[in-house]
């Protein structure tokens, strides 16, 4: 079994199942913080999938996209947390 076959039959399905589970939480999430943290988790898992595909297609340029996703995940989470607090202040 070569490396590419192993990735396509074992690792990618594991990551796909985890993406589906987190997406169910993203749809269900009772509160807004649930949705924000599951969005963060979705972007973090996208980093893992991008890394796996960069190994499969032998293109190291994809790793730049992984770094970009890490930046976007952090900025998005911090901005959502900030506006969650601000929304509470406005409601009072």
């Amino acid at each position: 079994m070569t490396l590419v076959e192993y990735y396509q039959y074992v690792v990618i399905p594991i990551l796909g199942i985890s993406v589906i589970l987190v997406f169910i939480r993203f749809l269900k999430g009772p509160s807004l913080a649930d949705r924000v943290i599951s969005l963060d988790m979705l972007i973090l898992m996208a980093i893992g999938i991008v890394v796996i595909y960069s190994i499969i297609y032998d293109q190291s340029t994809f790793l730049d996209i992984a770094m970009l996703f890490a930046l976007i995940a952090f900025l998005g989470t911090v901005a959502f947390a900030y506006y969650l607090e601000e929304r509470r202040k406005r409601n009072e």
């Binding site: 943290i37 730049d64 995940a73």
Partner: protein, 136 residues
């Protein structure tokens, strides 16, 4: 030999990511979910990125992978902490089975200052406690 190391690293990493998502699906509470996400996702992604570094074996790729791992390890707990703090200040519903809430009554509801353990006990916080704190 190299392929075996890559396979083992990426399998362990993806299993960590799977365990994180199962916990995201099954945990009862926002705070438990945030806790689980920031712990295992960093380790799983670090192992996946390390397998990419072993596969390519170039200096430029290794540098990028190390920068990404350090960035994720630094920033994922910060984001989780900020989100948990915002959720707590928003009074998000807690799990009914929660026995001890150490933060109860410690936050000043208006200025959002976190007092140390003196507010819950018989000691009163000092009068100018709010003035010394940077956030008002």
């Amino acid at each position: 030999m190299n392929e075996l190391i890559i396979m083992v690293l990426s399998t362990i990493g993806s299993l960590f990511v799977l365990s994180t998502s199962v916990a995201m699906f099954r945990k009862r509470d926002v705070y438990l979910r945030i806790n689980v996400t920031t712990k295992t996702a960093t380790l799983g992604l670090g192992l996946l990125l390390a397998s990419a570094a072993i596969f390519f074996q170039e200096y430029s790729v290794t540098t990028r992978v190390l920068a990404t791992i350090i960035f994720i390890i630094l920033t994922a707990p910060i984001g989780g902490h900020m989100l948990a703090r915002a959720a707590y200040l928003n009074k998000t519903k807690k799990w009914e089975g929660m026995k001890i809430d150490d933060l109860a009554g410690q936050y000043d509801p208006k200025s959002k200052v976190l007092y140390s353990e003196k507010k819950n006990t018989s000691f009163e916080p000092p009068v100018d406690y709010d003035k010394n704190s940077p956030q008002t």
